[in-house]
Subunit: 413 residues, 2 copies
């Protein structure tokens, strides 16, 4: 089924907010055969909403609209959809009851603006929003549907999970789309593409190969599309089997996993515990690892040693070593890794010290330089790398990825 | 000047990657009068690229296309733009020289795919990409321009900064757009809207007010649009002055700042140092604070005490207190905050302990419960809050915001 998403909100078009809703919708609806063909981000303007909706309704079978459902003047999605589908606004007692319960729970009082959230177009089916005041709405026209959802991510997610996904599952067509991803290391994108030229040419027309390069790794994604799901599964099975054979040595994950997920899996398999000692990454490595539910079985903790005194006092780094080699050095991070592993009694440890910028760089160690110290079961390993410097945020992000990536390699060896 | 953005890539429409490029472009181009009217995300398909480009070229003065410029088969943007603008592909020696230098620096070897990156349409002006192999391209037609940029964020950002922004600055029209943001606390969105009803009605037509609610805070954004920049500045000055008067007590930031930026500013003003002791937030509070350049003057470090043994051994939390009150309790986080402040010799400290989920909740302390401990110059404060639970990632994000927000309030008091 062909689907389009329309994202409404000035805040997105001036770059104040990043849209993550359309990605969530696609990830949830792809498996039931709903393919997102296009996402359009528009401003809170009546004429722009009308034209975007009409265009999408032409092209797609289903249109999902997000945002613009707040109680304030700048939000006009509901009233505009009511115009488009030719209805009038009516009071929805069910929505009011839902919102009353919500306000009672929060101990807040209703006012005329929040009460107006219970006014809905009479030409739509209301989809209850149990975690917010703006209900979802479904409109139908000429065999096509339009679903309007609030822009607040957790409200949208709840509505997708509880109302939208089950609906699409019920009216599922024969269309099937699925993806299979491998994470590969040791290749540049172009080298890998050349290595896989014959393989790619041999793929059946139902299967498409895509390359998603990141520093150090490439995500290879196979996408299968068709209506005969048995044949499609066979094609996909054969395509992944061949790919695994060709890339055996270079695959670091057989799932579309993040580096922290891969690392945690490697730790779990070996029953190893880990800790981190972080300077330039400021707790980012720990934060990534603990973003995974169940991390507590293997992750013990971290010392973010931003100031040198913390490195010396809490991680037993030798002050002389800092003076001699500088704080961004393999010598210091090795001591940091050993120090935190000892302090937290873990089998493994990751340590980072680097220059995230924009200031602090020198000729010898420019912004983008990081020292990574790794410890695992009595062995240490360290490296000093300089990446092409970008923004501070981007540098830190790449430092974290580098640390995780090298720890995975170190454990596997 | 009216601008539209077209983002190309299957990976965006299946939700594997989130587009942050369009936000970057808007933030950079808004100040020179370029307004992004619409962003369209489409797949790597020739016919879809052609129709999206033609539609945007109809509506806008300038179109910026991102993505689809890699060397592999799935990337077809360059060849499709060449078709649209009626040219043929030719070899660009300047691009080849740039790419040779890049490869030499990285110590990598060119192959036929990477060499193909130097083939460009003869109907475009090449915009050099000094950090990647895919050059930017500028096409012109009937007084309108289309700029094609690589999708890799730091390559795109460099091209925007070095080539695109200066170009728009040179051909700047009289259009002016600027924003002014206040961050407000102590109101719900609807309460604030009611309180500001008369104010909003009194605004000149050149100025628009928007509400961006987040837990605990609301960003109020005034946007001024027009051609007479002097008059516009006067209108904006008057509008913000009135707003500041009305909301005085409730404004926690006069800039569109993040909570970590606001906290750091408050610390800097008082010359206070800070450290964090984190359990459920896993280093996320430290990571946010250190994302700001210059944080090292006030931020000393953090102990991520995921395991209870770390809380006891490194932060001097009393084991008996954990047994009596549970690890998610005001008693424990107060000890954590005091413990880390002592260990790191800081004036202030933030401590967190909570249940991010999806497992670990109980009837008394469900998923979404967090204890926050605050320490500042000998005084402690703590709170136990339960937020409506969402995904683990979302819960952690809100925990971090709650901790930062309450620390700001505590310091200000």
């Amino acid at each position: 089924m062909k689907c389009e998403i329309i994202v409404i909100g000035d805040e997105l078009l001036i770059g104040q907010v990043t849209d993550t809703n359309s990605g969530y919708i696609a990830r949830k609806l792809n498996p039931v055969g709903v393919e997102v063909m296009r996402t359009t981000v528009i401003r809170d303007r009546e004429e722009e909403i009308i034209s975007a909706v009409e265009e999408s309704m032409q092209r797609a079978d289903a249109v999902i609209v997000t945002g613009g459902l707040g109680p304030t003047n700048d939000d006009i999605t509901k009233i505009t959809l009511c115009k488009i589908f030719g209805g009038k606004m009516v009071f929805s007692q069910a929505t009011q009851d839902n919102n009353d319960a919500l306000f009672a729970k929060l101990g807040k009082e209703m006012n005329h603006l929040t009460r107006s959230q219970a006014m809905v177009p009479d030409c739509c089916k209301v989809l209850p929003n149990v975690v917010g005041t703006a209900p979802g709405m479904m409109f139908k026209r000429e065999g096509k549907i339009l679903i309007s959802l609030p822009g607040v991510p957790y409200e949208l997610q709840k509505l997708i999970d509880d109302s939208v996904l089950p609906m699409f599952e019920r009216c599922a067509t024969d269309d099937r789309i699925f993806h299979s991803t491998r994470i590969v290391t040791g290749f540049t994108e172009s080298k890998l593409a050349i290595y896989l030229t014959d393989y790619e040419a041999s793929l059946p027309s139902t299967i498409k190969l895509a390359y998603l390069p990141k520093p150090n790794i490439i995500r290879l994604r196979l996408t299968a599309r068709g209506t005969d799901s048995d044949a499609l599964y066979c094609d996909m099975y054969e395509a992944t089997r061949k790919l695994d054979e060709l890339l055996k040595e270079n695959i670091i994950s057989y799932d579309d996993a993040t580096l922290e997920e891969i690392l945690l899996k490697e730790l779990q398999e070996r029953n190893y515990t880990i800790s981190t000692a972080e300077s330039c990454t400021g707790g980012g490595v720990a934060s990534k690892i603990t973003s995974i539910s169940g991390a507590s079985a293997n992750f013990m903790g971290s010392v973010v040693a931003y100031d040198n005194s913390i490195k010396i006092n809490l991680l037993s780094v030798d002050e002389e070593i800092i003076k001699e080699y500088g704080v961004v050095s393999t010598q210091v991070v090795e001591q940091m890794a050993k120090g935190v592993a000892e302090k937290m009694k873990t089998d493994c440890a990751i340590a980072t010290s680097g220059i995230a910028g924009p200031t602090g760089g020198s000729k010898q160690k420019p912004v983008g330089t990081i020292a990574i110290g790794l410890y695992c079961k009595g062995k240490t390993h360290s490296l000093l790398v300089t990446i092409p410097s970008a923004s501070r945020a981007r540098n830190i992000e790449r430092f974290i990825d580098l640390a995780l990536f090298n720890m995975i390699k170190f454990i596997k060896e």
